[in-house]
């Protein structure tokens, strides 16, 4: 079952390249939260209950509900246009993301390790590189944040692969998630809306080096 959920997760990454509206990106993030909830539930069922509750709560409340709501709120409050405005045509994005997934599959096949669950490694790597790719090729600040959140989801998948034996690391990852998520989005996106009129990275080019 985990396999199917993770394959669906990989497909959401492709959809990320396809979608041209911010709304699409946000619903993908919410859907990824649900998928991660499923994976975490199946994988970590054996660890102690309080910890499991914490992790599941994080995936469902934070990743699935709070962050998408908040992003929507920011978009409305700052009057951000609804198009994602990529530098590349979407078709190229889809092709490149496909190659990222293929590449991480080949990379994870190169590893000879009986302990590793290769699918986790593969999905985490592809989410990491897709996130970086989204950050590089989209113009808006908010899409940069979304790319970062995708990277976070990838990190979460990877931490699930070791989570059974060291739940502490999963918690640490979640800490990063909440820390940065709240700070990056909460305080910052609001402030940027106040100071800058257009929500565009072009505005952040005044400092040259």
């Amino acid at each position: 079952m985990t396999n199917i959920l993770l394959i669906a997760f990989a497909f959401t990454l492709v959809y990320l390249g396809m979608s041209s509206r911010l709304q699409g990106y946000i619903s993908i993030l919410a859907f990824q939260g649900i998928l991660l909830f499923g994976v975490a539930f199946i994988e970590l069922i054996e660890i102690n209950t309080i910890n499991l509750m914490f992790i599941l709560l994080e995936t469902i409340v934070f990743k699935t509900i709070a962050i998408p709501k908040f992003l929507n709120y920011i978009i409305k409050r700052n009057h951000i246009t609804r198009e994602a405005e990529p530098f590349l045509p979407n078709f190229l994005s889809v092709v490149i993301i496909t190659f990222i997934i293929l590449g991480s599959f080949i990379l994870s096949n190169a590893i000879h390790d009986t302990h590793l669950r290769k699918i986790f490694f593969m999905i985490a790597l592809s989410a990491l590189f897709t996130g970086l790719f989204i950050i590089m090729t989209r113009r808006k600040i908010i899409t940069h944040v979304i790319g970062f959140l995708v990277i976070e989801n990838g990190v979460f998948v990877l931490s699930l692969a070791v989570g059974n034996e060291m739940p502490m690391l999963v918690n640490a990852g979640i800490l990063l998630d909440i820390f940065v998520g709240v700070l990056l989005l909460g305080i910052f996106a609001n402030k940027i809306g106040d100071v800058l009129k257009e929500q565009d990275v072009e505005q952040l080019r005044q400092l040259k080096d």
């Binding site: 910052f188 402030k191 080096d209």
Partner: protein, 327 residues
Amino acid sequence: MIGIYLIVAFVVSTLLFFNRNKILNYLLVGLFVVLQWVFTIYEYRHLNIEELGYFIPDSLAIIFLIVLSIVCIPAFYHSYIYFKHHRDTPRAQAIYYAAMVVLIVALSAAYLSSHIAVTWIFIDLTTLSAAALIYHRRNVRALEGTWKYLFVCSISMALVFIGILFLTLALQEEGLKSLSYHALIEKAPILNTFWLKLAFLFIFTGYTAKAGLIPMYTAGIDAKDKAPSPAGALIGSVLMNVGFFGIYRFYEIISHTSIHNWSNKNYIHIGHPYRIYCNSLYASCEECQTYACLFRSVSYGVGCHRFGFWRNRALCCYPSFGASLAC
């Protein structure tokens, strides 16, 4: 002691955040400096004794801690001078001091921690407090600097976390669980070198955002410039030390394995050209004098890395601190 230190420092920083009274502010900052020094001396007297399960003051940590404690005195002193000239709102001042205290506490705790994930958590905390410092001036350029710093650092911290996860995979293969430096150094020779290499690459790349080295060096440049100069000096000196410190801790583990040579090569090949690059670039640019000073801090650091003397790295933060203040 570290428990008391963390709690008292937290209380002081909270009070500083809510306090608008000037005299109380002096008192609290004075209290914190005294606490910092008492703590430093206490840890120096109790070398290599574990506290709270996650903190061991070994000699490396103590050197860095002493440097930090020395630097924090002029930093606070110059902050007062700074605020004499800039009439900022009491609220902005309160946030500034509270963030600075949190930054110093997070740095101390990161130095002392004996567990790789705990170090990571505290270094993550420095990102947040440094962001509050950089945003102090609250104009567009400060905002831009803060955004870049926060964003690049967050990504780098995520990369470090991935590196730690790879390390964990290597450990799991051997059926080990402990992530403390001590255990890691002991077990390093038997770990899978493939995972170690990957972990090294990710952790190195991640911490370079803090240390100001090549792949992620863009994080710090605007930040140092846009923060108020005392804070900029802290960011340019001790905060860069902590990045180096994180790399060094991992390098220590690597040095006990067969990939030591490999990592050495990477280390130098990444660091050395960069030094030449930034020195030549900024020496040639008249307007970039400020940057030149700041970059010197980077290049001192890289120079010391080359010779592998961490003591030099710790000490070289004085010239860079001075240079930053002078600008």
